[in-house]
């Protein structure tokens, strides 16, 4: 089958959950289908600056076709309209303006789709909120699959997206909570599609016992993996952790793995490890007492899946319906809504290593049953057959 995947950014240098999700799906689909990724030449979602060469190339066995972004995103024009459409009464024109400002505006990509969409049996679009998805999916919705990667934020409430979610022939939801959220917020009950999610690629893992010395992480530690920024809940997590550490005099360290955009006072108990190779990252997760995921807005936390793949329990923000739902379904960890629950859950996970290991084991079983690549590819094949067959309906 010939399949085109459309995504706002693509490449090894791109950091972002949806983009990595797309890359992994592309690489696995390419093992059984003829896959081409259509994307932009940008790597930074805050500016959409064109940095990569336009045209055809290949990455990890997948054909990639890049198109230049026509306009950069500017904070001074984006922020006012974003605040207006998210928090105040506004018009449909202002929502349209938001979409243009949000970007990445890439007319050449949409022109290419108009001319060549019949060359593909199916088109798969990643992340509903980007210009490339919104405009590209309208070209051939009857052969399009949408992977929304929707979170519970104000953007989902825009009128712009109410009818949009009815367009694609199939939707590949990340979790049952995401499906419920989209259907409820956009007023579209019974959307076509199924819960798919993503698998996790496991690079050659560094032996868990070696990671302590490699990263100079001695003793017990908790781990956070991802962008280190307030929007991801990191400020509150660090605050909670330091308070808990002060109150218990615990010697446990919180290791932050990822790129930091917020300032905080690093000390002996909170350590910024930066971006490290995936193999070391997984080993660090496997060696940690637990993984903490403080984000309130997730459509599917791949980091949580990684922790379960490594057999470790997670402590997640219970205000995020998706994370709470995943933890309750899998039995792979605990959740918290406020400091007291954070502290009590942490106390329990650390004081009862056998319990923590059992939770991690349950998470591992859940991961194997639902997120192993064979399962994911079976689901994608089902969706692709539906749209390529032209039925669209599930």
């Amino acid at each position: 089958m010939r399949v085109a995947l459309v995504v706002q950014r693509y490449g090894l240098e791109v950091f972002g959950g949806a983009e990595l999700h797309c890359r992994w799906v592309a690489e696995h689909l390419a093992e059984r289908h003829q896959v081409e990724v259509l994307t932009t030449t940008a790597t930074d979602y805050l500016s959409w600056t064109n940095v990569l060469p336009a045209g055809a190339s290949a990455l990890n066995g997948v054909s990639v076709r890049r198109f230049p972004v026509a306009r950069a995103r500017r904070v001074e024009t984006f922020d006012p309209v974003a605040n207006k459409v998210c928090f105040a009464a506004h018009t449909d024109e202002e929502e349209q303006q938001w979409l243009e400002e949000h970007g990445p505006v890439c007319p050449e990509l949409v022109d290419f789709l108009r001319r060549h969409h019949r060359d593909y049996d199916a088109l798969v679009f990643f992340s509903y909120r980007y210009w490339t998805t919104y405009c590209g999916l309208q070209v051939a919705p009857e052969r399009s699959i949408l992977v929304p990667t929707a979170e519970h934020d104000r953007v989902l409430y825009l009128r712009l997206f109410r009818s949009f979610f009815r367009l694609p022939a199939q939707i590949a939801f990340n979790t049952p909570e995401e499906r419920e959220l989209i259907e409820r917020v956009t007023g579209n009950e019974g959307l076509r599609g199924e819960v798919v999610g993503t698998g996790i690629d496991r690079p050659t893992v560094v032996p868990v016992e070696e990671v302590e010395a490699r990263l100079d992480l001695l003793g017990d530690f908790l781990v956070y993996v991802g962008r280190i920024e307030p929007e991801k809940g990191c400020a509150v997590m660090i605050d909670h952790f330091l308070r808990w550490q002060r109150e218990t005099r615990s010697k446990v360290t919180l290791a932050l793995l990822g790129r930091g955009t917020m300032s905080f006072s690093e000390n002996a108990h909170v350590r910024l490890m930066g971006v490290i190779p995936d193999a070391e990252k997984l080993a660090a997760v496997g060696r940690a007492r637990a993984l903490v995921m403080p984000s309130r807005h997730e459509s599917l936390s791949m980091v949580v899946l990684e922790a379960w793949m490594m057999g470790r329990p997670v402590l997640v923000n219970g205000d995020c319906e998706v994370l709470r739902g995943q933890v309750l379904r899998s039995g792979g960890g605990l959740y918290y809504r406020r400091y007291e629950e954070f502290a009590a859950a942490l106390d329990l996970l650390l004081a009862e290593p056998a319990l923590a290991n059992r939770l991690g084991g349950q998470g591992h079983d859940y991961f194997q049953a639902n997120y192993a690549w064979e399962r994911i590819m079976e689901k994608y094949d089902r969706l692709l057959e539906r749209v390529a067959g032209g039925s669209g309906a599930s």
Partner: protein, 163 residues
Amino acid sequence: MDEWTGPDGRVDVAAIMAGIREKIRGRRDMGLYTDEEVEELTSLRLQAFADDAGIDPDLLARLMADNHNWNISTDYRVETHRAGLKGRLVVLLKQLVRPWVRLYTDQPLSRQAQINLYLHYLCHNLVREVVRLQIEQTALRNRLATGGGGDTPPGAGREGSAG
């Protein structure tokens, strides 16, 4: 079978979370408030005092914020209420005079800013202590009323400075 294992032999996460919440509720019934909750009560009390004082709402909002933007500063902005060319001229003149004025005002302004900050912390901490004492008093009264005793003094828990 341990306390966390459900009938299906799996660890029951919902039961663990219910247990955690129950424990937290129990501590609160004993008057063991968290620092976070004491801080919330303190803010409410401070807000009530400020409302009585009837000061400018904008300034009040700045006073209640975590930063110190409410305080006076030697780096004040030079501006005027006059518009147009006249306004720009006034601002220019003020800017020209400013270095000479600052020779005499910077030192007392800096000192006053520090005194303001000290008084701010003093008042805030005093109100917080009053809130803690009131919580403790209420908890003691509750224990007396219910005939409860025990060796554990209020506030002996981890979050117990509030007790």
